[in-house]
Symmetry: C2
């Protein structure tokens, strides 16, 4: 979901960006027009996230999944082991991919309990010689979120923030590298944003494709080859919209309110709706839920669609329903869902 | 440049695709709506190019440059050498990248003569044991184009068709693999289309990132991770537009006419405009030209811009001017440029 004002601006500018007579899609990525769009987007992102100058910001193709390989290819820096936290399907995929490149030390895993919580940091089996520690602060499929940032000393912390970025303030200084697929809180699919501390660059493994080499990409300001210009432009519009909303802190307040309303509805349903995640680790972005009577789920989805509530089908790994309540989802949208869910109990409970 | 009717349709559908109330950018890539868009685009491309059923069609992120690594990572299949033809800056970049993965046998090179022709096929030093032969049928920067398809027997032929695809009919059966960055004749930047013969899949080198493994991507119908949905959708609109234009054969006729007009203007200018490429290898897509008096070039670009003629600046490797006359450039646009070029001689010649 993208903010309505962003889509409207993109629509207005589709054939004629700011009087140039050109669509952004038709601009040369090295022309003055696109360079200004690109620079403004980076500046705004630095501003709203408070990204320090010793971090590079890259706008790349490939999606977050590309980072599952790029992180080890670039950050092992001669070491042969890396720490991984396994709290959901995405961090699990990151682990599978990293195994191609190094020994993966899984410091903790909730796989056996079907990814419904986050083990206490004190129980993690960290390796002080690991090249880095990788985790996913928000797992979209099961809806699990870390309420804390691991403090692991000198070992660089790497976070897959695909679904949590820009949903609450973060202290970038706590991270060695942050990456995020754009299609949740940033913009359209086809773009991944990487924020990486300077000193971690320049030790890419040999045999790494040029487009997987952070140093090469940073040297070329994300323009080693033609970047995904339109997705970059739309992301820039989203950053401007976030500033107009009062920044990330103000979105965070709204996000907490939106999530609380949904979980309260689930918890008040006397088991009609179910979410198995330990309440203190429930995601503010993705709220998966099942019906106690799973035969009702198709009916729920069909009636929801009729009521104008779309994209509620759960991930194919899990089934059930999932409400994605990213920044662009207005509180009124959550209210409509809550009221539909309550009505559904009355009709079918 | 994208066809005007395509941009207009995208604009109309920006906030509401076919009555769904959703932007294409907001669709789940696994939902019925996007799946139908994706399938239709592939079908239309198969139709207009005549792609046989034993070829996979992939819609991927990363741009054509990603293929410079993906081709050797996937097609070496245990061999240690590959043949490359060097006829311009792009094939040269492909060679540099391939050297990370194998012995590159440059079968012929025009580097020393600054990429202004194509050596006769009989002079090429091909290796019958090469894993494949790679070439770029059209080189965008210097404007060099192959008037023939190399016939190399059993060795799979790999073509970087980024700037020539859909500009003239090709016999896909002559190729093992064709790839093309979308931003010339297909759609917006951020998408690369790969057409690969079935039997070449399944021998990917170990250590290859999942997103660089054709087999993995083919198994998941280009949806191993979230694909660049909006670029895929726009490409589909372009394919529909091509069918409305009477297909590739009819575009090819127009492209020849457009190119002839420009080269005729250059050749009739008594050296005022210059294009150094051997006439039989001149590109129908990219027409680079210099002014004999290079001090006039900035003036040329400034006056052209005033006359509404944009994107004429030559590639930064080469300077001068470059007219890109892809499918979406209407003949009237070429006529306007020709008339401007003739007027410029009168004013400043």
């Amino acid at each position: 979901m993208l903010p309505q004002p962003v889509l409207e601006q993109a629509q207005r500018e589709m054939l004629n960006w700011q009087g140039t007579g050109m669509s952004v899609m038709e601009m040369s990525h090295r022309g003055a027009e696109f360079m200004s769009i690109a620079a403004r987007a980076e500046e705004d992102l630095r501003d709203i996230m408070g990204i320090p100058p010793n971090y590079k910001v890259l706008f790349l193709q490939g999606g977050a999944s590309s980072q599952f390989a790029m992180v080890p290819m670039n950050l092992l820096r001669g070491k042969c082991t890396a720490d991984y936290v396994e709290t959901g399907d995405w961090s699990s995929k990151a682990i599978q991919e990293a195994k191609k490149y190094c020994n993966v030390n899984v410091v903790t895993s909730t796989k056996i309990s079907r990814y419904t919580s986050v083990p206490a940091f004190t129980s993690w089996n960290c390796n002080p010689n690991a090249a880095y520690l990788h985790y996913a602060p928000n797992e979209t499929i099961r809806g699990v979120e870390f309420p804390f940032v691991p403090e692991i000393g000198e070992v660089p912390l790497v976070a897959d923030m695909s679904s949590g970025i820009l949903s609450r303030p973060v202290n970038v200084n706590q991270f060695g590298l942050i990456y995020a697929g754009a299609q949740k809180n940033i913009g359209p699919a086809g773009l991944v944003v990487v924020i990486v501390r300077d000193d971690l660059l320049g030790n890419t493994a040999s045999g790494t494709p040029a487009l997987y080499d952070y140093q090469v990409l940073a040297d070329h300001h994300s323009m080693y080859n033609t970047p995904p210009t339109y997705a970059w432009y739309l992301s820039g519009l989203v950053f401007q919209w976030i500033k107009q909303q009062g920044g990330v802190a103000s979105l965070a307040t709204a996000n907490v309110r939106k999530a609380r309303k949904l979980y309260a509805t689930i918890d008040a349903s006397q088991g009609f709706y179910q979410n198995p995640v330990d309440p203190q680790y429930r995601s503010r972005m993705n709220v998966p839920f099942m019906l106690a009577d799973r035969r009702h789920e198709n009916l729920f989805l069909a009636e929801a669609l009729e009521a104008g509530l779309t994209n509620l089908k759960g991930h194919r790994f899990l089934g059930g329903m999932r409400a994605s309540i990213y920044n662009a989802m207005p509180e009124a949208g959550v209210d409509a869902l809550v009221s539909f869910m309550q009505g559904f109990i009355q009709r079918h409970g």
